[in-house]
């Protein structure tokens, strides 16, 4: 039996295209039909955001980017509509803009326990759909416990910054690769796919990687 095709994905928890891209990738992987091993890597879009940012994503975009509030509304409506097309009900009225460094540490903790994919899905769902807070240790521990991780062990690891170096290593690797935006997918260490592509793009790249393996 052949080794699964490795897919490395750089992503941030509060990136709307990352959740949409995740669904499209999953669709593409299903179309491909072969064995795929996915590993998520950390990417911080706005590392200077306060954990308890006092405002909504609309406030954040207005203040940070100087975009007019009505234009922000239009942008969020559009991305919400596109999310809906892949089965995701984004609820921007209840999204808590925050710093995601602890969420990334939690993803590395979850990887050490063999449940990184479940953790990634739970964090994205908490942030975009359930109105959860993904910046505070206490909230993250509750989300982690919902997928079976030990609440107190999570708190201990996050407060001790046990996985901070792993997060920084991922970010440094992204910089070394020249990755400036997310989601970013690396298929079998050979093919790069930037953004929330259509499922067919992922399926095609996976098929290409498998063909090359079979030919070698």
């Amino acid at each position: 039996m052949s080794e699964p095709i490795k897919v490395d994905i750089w992503s941030d928890v509060q990136c709307p295209w990352c959740y949409i891209g995740k669904r499209k990738f999953e669709d593409g992987a299903a179309q491909f039909g072969g064995d795929v091993e996915v590993e998520y890597h950390s990417f911080e879009l706005a590392p200077d955001t306060p954990v308890d940012f006092d405002g909504s994503p609309k406030d954040f975009l207005s203040q940070r980017k100087g975009i007019a509030p009505d234009q922000v509304d239009m942008m969020l409506d559009r991305v919400t509509s596109i999310a809906k097309s892949v089965g995701l009900d984004y609820d921007y009225d209840h999204v808590h803009q925050t710093n995601t460094i602890k969420a990334h540490e939690l993803l590395h903790f979850a990887k050490s326990k063999g449940v990184q994919l479940e953790m990634k899905e739970a964090l994205l769902k908490a942030y975009f759909i359930d109105g959860g807070h993904v910046g505070r240790v206490a909230d993250l521990a509750v989300i982690a416990a919902s997928i079976g991780l030990d609440h107190d062990e999570v708190v201990e690891a996050l407060e001790a910054q046990t996985y901070l170096a792993d997060v920084k290593a991922d970010v440094a690797q992204a910089q070394a690769y020249g990755i400036q935006g997310v989601p970013f997918f690396v298929i079998d260490g050979k093919y790069g796919i930037s953004g929330a592509q259509e499922a067919a793009a992922f399926a095609g790249a996976l098929e290409q990687a498998r063909s090359e393996r079979d030919a070698s």
């Binding site: 990136c15 596109i82 097309s85 020249g178 935006g181 997310v182 930037s194 953004g195």
Partner: protein
Amino acid sequence: MTDVTATPFTMVGDPEAAACVGDSCLIPEHHSQAEVNRQLDADLV
């Protein structure tokens, strides 16, 4: 969109696909229109 000129990978797919760069998550016009067209095709709009 991502500037991928420095990546050691062969880039595949649509180079204009939607992505978040920095703290900005822009929506390419053609991407948005493609989604609307798809929804129109599916009688969702």
